[in-house]
Subunit: 219 residues, 4 copies
């Protein structure tokens, strides 16, 4: 009560962590269609407890997302801090792809169901560093002139898809395509289609609002 926003009791903290971990596991295995009951029981808790910590299933997904996002922020900051822009770019792509490749739930959260507001926050937080990174890489001649900062996220997504195809077998296969993608950014043939504008990226986010709404209502 003295602390701002009430420091949860010790066991409550533990249970919240258990829930997030359980959600990560269950969602990773079966995707977001897994039920709250499943998540709660995997955590060894009752459903009610899950709902005490997260207003609904979507909020739980967001909590996972939030953790992932923190890691992504860290990666982009590290990348920008790298004096070699190309090395920075590579480390960002590789790092984020690595994160998602192992976690189907995270991929679903990141790709399918976006909290438009939070997504814009993420976008705003990432777009600056990414643009800087790409611009510096262009200036250094490490990246083609027509590459845009929005390409980076899409390249990562494409890499992560590989994990969806192969399931748990060959969970590292995406690395096979990493050099291919990086090379594409560096010196590949000129693309005939323009990159996704940031404006369009924003628009596409709102496309997902419907799915979001649906998820928030019912399963």
């Amino acid at each position: 009560m003295t602390e701002a926003s009430r420091p949860l009791r010790k066991d409550a903290v533990r249970n919240r962590a258990l829930l997030v971990q359980a959600a990560r596991d269950v969602f990773a295995e079966r995707g977001l269609e897994a039920s709250m009951d499943d998540v709660a029981h995997r955590a060894g808790l009752g459903v009610g407890t899950a709902y005490r910590h997260f207003a609904n299933k979507y909020e739980l997904a967001l909590a996972i997302l939030a953790e992932a996002i923190e890691r992504v922020y860290q990666l982009v900051d590290d990348a920008v801090a790298n004096p070699d822009p190309w090395a920075g770019l590579v480390s960002f792509v590789e790092g984020t792809a690595e994160m998602q490749s192992a976690d189907r739930g995270l991929r679903e959260v990141l790709m399918g169901v976006h909290d438009a507001e939070q997504m814009e926050q993420v976008h705003d937080r990432l777009s600056g560093p990414l643009r800087e990174l790409v611009d510096r890489a262009k200036a250094a001649g490490a990246v083609r002139a027509d590459v845009e900062s929005t390409d980076i996220g899409i390249v990562v997504t494409m890499l992560c898809t590989v994990a969806d195809v192969t399931g748990d077998a060959s969970s590292d296969l995406w690395r096979r395509y990493l050099p291919m993608m990086l090379d594409g950014l560096r010196q590949g043939a000129e693309p005939s289609v323009p990159a996704l504008s940031e404006d369009m990226l924003r628009k596409s986010m709102s496309t997902h609002k419907q799915r979001l709404a649906r998820l928030s209502q019912r399963g």
Copy 2:
């Protein structure tokens, strides 16, 4: 009665086609979570009729898959028939990516839910032509020596993912990455990870059997 396995009556054939078409439309719009009722009514029929033709929702999805597969077979045959192996390869990648980019339901069917048996059939049908195509392209110096036939399908999948990210906005964005991928196959830096072996591909299929079972029960 005179016929061995009595061909479906004319209107039954028509209804089956109506259902598949409706399913394609509805699934393309809203994904596989659309209900059987919706599909049936889009076809102007009752649910019962849908179940007369397809044992369950999954079977209906497979029927769509079957049509798509037919088109893929056509594409691979055309590609093989092309005297220029590289041109053939390009046309195959482009053609299959085009097919899926516009159809969310098809992507979901292809990626998320595999009928292991049918999948193996498809694999067996495609692997020969694809291997021939890739080998000839290698021989012609159009493709790097370490490219495998299994890479082709994965490249297509990666391209299709772009459509998932952008939703309806920029439905053609995947084309931006087409040259990048093609270039990766042709001359990109050497990949440090070996391609997915056909054996592994087979194994990864069975990974999806669980999802399959779940879909067949509920949702």
Copy 3:
């Protein structure tokens, strides 16, 4: 399909009636807090069937209300048709009180949970006849000059309350207070508080929109 708005199948019609009857019984016994499951099973049907016929619990309540309203319309028309306005008024009050006294669910629907729109319809349909009835009764000297048409509904409600107090015992006790109320309209002491204006009545309806919304969402 030829008929406008599809004539329900014979058994569907029967089940709908069973549901309405069951709802009337269950709501009469335990009020609107009874569950849909209870209603459905009382009707010998599954919950799903209840939801096929009524979008939600509130719609089911409205169906009961609709029947009751029809009877009320009949009563008011009969009352207006009576050449003796006082006799008409008495028959209306007595008739409507009789209807509700036996049915707790109906009382709850009528009093607690109003579909604002339908309620206004009812109001609009009743206010004319009631005003005419009251005016003619005043002209005939059968009713005090300060009685308003809105008083009638309230008098009925007050009578019905008696049933709430006594429960199933003495279900006719309300009749004891009927002459008292009628006499109050006819010659009682002058009231010091003005009647509810129709405007206010309308406003008070909207007060119930919240309860309505709540019922429609969750129990």
Copy 4:
């Protein structure tokens, strides 16, 4: 420890009072469906504390009832003390109606959920004074000969119902009907139905035992 049944510690007394007050407020606003959490937090306490003082939600409702009953006892005693029995009767009716009109929760407790035992106590406590009051009023010619003491409570209830109909709008409308009811007791047309016997009143109480049980379990 020296005391026989150790009086509650001072803050325990204070908390109990806070809870009752909060319950009165919350129930008055939203009715008995308000949650224990809401009540506890309105009181600035945790739910657990609420359950330390009251075994369940119903007991809390009874505590409110108890307070109200105290006020009713006061009113009836004042009424009896009034040398003018009619004036006493009027003050009792008006006073009790006033109490309930403003408090939806109290109405619900009084009407919907009766603790049969406590109710009988109340009945036993009130019936004597009321009977005396009515008898003296009859003797003074202020009340019709066929009025019974049980009529008084019912008249009050009928008046309170008006508040249910109008919601927060016109919270004083019941006063419009007060003279009408009083006049009915004094000189209205002879009722054709006999009053509720005290015996029957007792019986009707038990009708509510079921509802009571339900509340004590859930909702």
